[in-house]
């Protein structure tokens, strides 16, 4: 690799990192605004015009809060928990293709940090690591509510990872590749050979299962049992304060961003948009519009996460497990069989 390439990659990483943080930051603001609108309120509007400086004010508040480490907590793990949570949340973005490629002079820049051929598996690996942050934090707090929250998080994530994996298998049977870049390329444009190219139109059931599991994996309502206030005080982060609490909450929003990006890439065509090659634009412009299209999709999914949160009440824990094991897993397996049968017939 040349030096120029290394520098380009480095810049790309920094940009993506910054974007994830900014998106997560403004998701906290958007969450409050969206919640307010759903409840016929106005929402935060005092910090800056329309309250757009609210995330900065929240961040500043988090930093200035008193830092508490409980006496009986194991200090090392107590700090390791949130650090791990935010770390795993951030590294997921490495394999997501944010756009095609830009040509600047003689350089062709791929808008993806790395195109590993097992991209989907990598995402899964990172997602399952995410539960360690919660687990370690909950255990290290030495508090029964935290521990219960952590156990819930762990068992919930493990159960839903299975159906998520199974729903992905059906998708992989169609795409025949694990590389996210290739999956995105296969969904080129919007319409070809008499059918939509986006995977959601070929795998509607798979997408449904995937999105339900995504809600469970990111611990969002209706599956936010690990931090269920009514039963567990604050769940796994009961004992946390100051920026460590901030990291946990922040990690949740980054996870939401990444899983929205994954859903957009796997099922909604990633950076592809309708008529992308009939507009008579140069390659670079198509790429830039593609990035905007991808972000529009991501923002829609983030909005959807919030929309669901302010609509549906929380599941009971046994309902959650029932849904995961007795409904989603059989459905996902049926989906695989169905995909196989239909694939064989139409080949």
């Amino acid at each position: 690799m040349e030096l120029a390439d290394i520098i380009i990659k480095f810049v790309l990483i920094v940009i993506i990192f910054a974007i994830s943080l900014v998106v997560a930051m403004y998701s906290t603001y958007a969450e409050r605004k969206v919640a307010a609108f759903f409840q016929d309120r106005i929402g935060p509007n005092r910090a800056g015009p329309w309250g757009i400086l609210q995330p900065l004010a929240d961040g500043g508040k988090m930093f200035l809060k008193e830092e508490i480490i409980p006496t009986n907590a194991s200090a090392f793990l107590f700090i390791a928990g949130p650090s791990l949570a935010i770390l795993t949340a951030c590294i997921g973005s490495a394999v997501i293709p944010w756009g095609q490629h830009l040509t600047i002079g003689s350089h062709v820049i791929d808008l993806q940090v790395t195109d590993i051929n097992v991209g989907v598996l990598y995402i899964f690996g990172v997602v399952s690591l995410g539960v360690y942050g919660v687990m370690i934090g909950g255990w290290a707090s030495n508090n029964k509510y935290s521990l219960l929250g952590a156990i819930r998080a762990a068992s919930q994530n493990i159960s839903y990872e299975i159906s998520m994996g199974l729903s992905i298998i059906a998708l992989l049977m169609l795409t025949g590749t694990l590389s996210l870049r290739e999956i995105a390329e296969q969904q080129h444009g919007f319409w070809s050979h008499g059918w939509f190219t986006w995977n959601v139109f070929r795998q509607p059931l798979g997408f449904l299962i995937f999105i339900v599991c995504a809600f469970a994996e990111t611990n969002r309502t209706p599956f936010d049992l690990p931090e269920c206030e009514t039963e567990l005080v604050g769940g796994y982060h009961t004992e946390y304060s100051s920026m460590k609490l901030g990291f946990y909450l922040f990690a949740e929003y980054i996870n939401m961003f990444i899983s929205s990006a994954v859903m957009a890439t796997l099922y909604f065509g990633g950076y592809n948009f309708p008529f992308m090659h009939h507009l008579g634009l140069t390659e670079n412009w198509v790429t830039i519009l593609g990035v905007i299209a991808l972000f529009a999709k991501i923002i829609f999914f983030i909005f959807f996460f919030m929309w669901v949160r302010w609509t549906i009440p929380r599941f009971r824990y046994d309902q959650l497990m029932d849904l995961g094991w007795k409904i989603l897993i059989p459905l996902a397996i049926a989906n695989i069989v169905l995909t196989g049968v239909i694939g064989t017939i139409f080949k």
Binding site: V34, F37, Q39, D40, R41, V308, T311, I312
Partner: protein, 165 residues
Amino acid sequence: MESLSNKKKLIESKPLNFWERAYLPAILSGLSITMKHFFRKPVTISYPEEKREFSENFRGMHSLKRDENGKERCTACGLCALSCPAEAITMIAAERQKGEEHLYREEKYAAVYEINMLRCIFCGLCEEACPKEAIYLDGDIVPADYLRKDFIYGKDKLVEAPLNQ
């Protein structure tokens, strides 16, 4: 048992049918309901820029009245303090001196008159008790403050502004 009031309603609890058990239709209808609210006009009133209209008998901050000649009406009889269920009122009485007739209507007046707004429950009993029609709760909402001592309102805040000055 026979219902006497005729208000009894029989509630059927049928087992859920397939579509109800499938969650999704119910979730979709829920999502559409919340979406309707999303575009509705917010009901928020941005206090203090906007104010809601008070009802006619709203009881707000107290004011100590003056009579038509601009003299303070209160005679420091203490009936308001006595009637106050929250013990929010205290006062120190003083005798009117020669030359102060234009200031105080009666021979005795309140040199110090304090209401603790943190204790007051805005019941309006002081207003009802006053024989001199000297105190009315016709003001605005008592504003927020940082220190407890700043909620003890003295005559400087309570007495009406003097006439045409």
